[in-house]
Symmetry: C2
Subunit: 279 residues, 2 copies
């Protein structure tokens, strides 16, 4: 079993030092408690509600910044996954997430799908979500709005991911009474249809007038929510991530084996999108 | 607004005449009540728990059978969508669904993804789900286990469907207390990410020892369940199906416009499945 901790934090806008201290405290608490995979939210080092590109540039850091390396040092043998504003070699700023281990930075992912006003201040990524092969399982990383594209969640599962680890910043949206956040429903379905686990680490607090969903959830390979944050703001679950490698449902059914790829490749040749899932 | 009725019926195994009478009564009740789209379950004319191919052959009917035409006659101006065991010209038997209107049979779909023991008695389809252009909207048809493949639900949305109409026979499965059936969660997510409505018409009763989920649900284009069956076994909802044509979420976000098809086409070239969503 692998212990996963998601820290539903409330970053301070534009205060790298304060946010780094908050993240390091969260990591240390999880390590003391036995966690092996530790998530913190999207853009946890900077806050989210940027007004201008200049603001983002003032707190953007390179993908190999010592602040990120320090996450791994604090984590002992655990892995840390969290978001930051990345200053690229090209001078652009990306909404990125790093996977950091004791050896240093294992992977950096640039968000492919930018939500709303992110489009005004960030440059979208151009590379697939990394799938990091670790001693506890294969971990794919994506960020927030990415999760609403079944193309991506299905693809990482088919490529062999056991867990999707996703920092998020979900703005609070209305929903019918008694329902889970729509974003969580989408993740439950994504986990269920592809038999993999999903850990999403959302944020809380109010930032420049914006309220947040605080929807942090850990979802098992059957699609059920097994943990949400307790009073301390941490969602904790023990999962055997390798269960995601068995896609069978009955003696005669397999979630991947029952796919009809030869049919999917040419479903609606007469439509505007001749190959709907890739074109 | 378009009135949709889903009749959660309990067919009698192998009794075409009794099941046809039950379907016609359901259609007439809905027509009297103003419904414009009427759904009945998967394999409603035959029951589901076939023991042998010979049993299926004994109740399979051609795709232009008078029993199906009679659905349209009974429906006045409404559309009827429901399941039957189809005897193909090739001698094979398919788990099919028909869309029937006053003009006759508008489309027949052969289930692409066969669940469990269906594989022992049916031949899988080879054609994409039909999308029938009607005066109230564009209606895609798929059947039960098909809905668990995001390749298919996303594809019909991208091809322009406003509503997925899906006859189902969901076997009862355990779920955590307070949760919706996993199959319904999958549909809520499919509707939400692609902004289209979904009506699934499940069955009830006990058949040869099998209990059923009775999970009939009508889901709007925001992914929320707006109707489940009342005491009379009918789920009713009034939906403006054309709302599915607006995929915008904010001034800067569009569920389809924000897709990255050029990225999806080559996400994991090094993996076994080089194009995960189509290969």
């Amino acid at each position: 079993m692998t212990r996963i901790d998601c820290h539903q934090l409330a970053p301070t806008m534009l205060d790298l030092a304060a946010n780094q201290a908050m993240v390091l405290a969260a990591i240390r608490a999880s390590v003391a408690d036995g966690a092996e995979i530790i998530l913190v939210p999207e853009l946890v080092l900077t806050g989210y509600m940027f007004a201008t590109v200049e603001e983002v540039l003032s707190v953007a850091i390179p993908a190999d910044d010592p602040l990120l390396v320090e996450w791994g040092t604090a984590a002992g043998g655990a892995l840390v996954i969290g978001g930051f504003a990345e200053l690229g070699d090209d001078g652009n700023v990306y909404n990125s997430a790093a996977v950091v281990g004791p050896e240093g930075i294992l992977a950096v992912y640039r968000k492919l799908h930018l939500w709303d006003r992110e489009k005004l201040v960030f440059t979208p990524g151009e590379q697939a979500p990394p799938i990091v092969d670790t001693s506890v399982g294969r971990i794919a990383v994506m960020i927030c709005y990415d999760l609403e594209f079944p193309e991506l969640t299905r693809a990482v599962a088919l490529a062999g991911a056991d867990l999707i680890a996703a920092p998020t910043n979900w703005p609070l949206m209305p929903r019918p009474e008694g329902e889970r956040p729509a974003e969580v429903v989408i993740l439950m379905a994504a986990a269920r249809v592809s038999h993999l686990a999903i850990a999403c680490c959302d944020r809380t607090g109010v930032e420049r007038g914006q309220d947040w969903m605080a929807g942090t959830s850990i979802i098992n390979e059957n699609g059920w929510v097994v943990a949400i944050p307790g009073p301390d703001g941490v969602a904790r679950a023990d999962l055997d991530l390798t269960l995601a490698r068995d896609k069978t449902m009955t003696d005669l059914c397999d979630a991947f084996g029952d796919r009809r790829p030869e049919i999917y490749a040419n479903l609606y040749p007469g439509s505007v999108r001749s190959d709907p899932l890739t074109a």
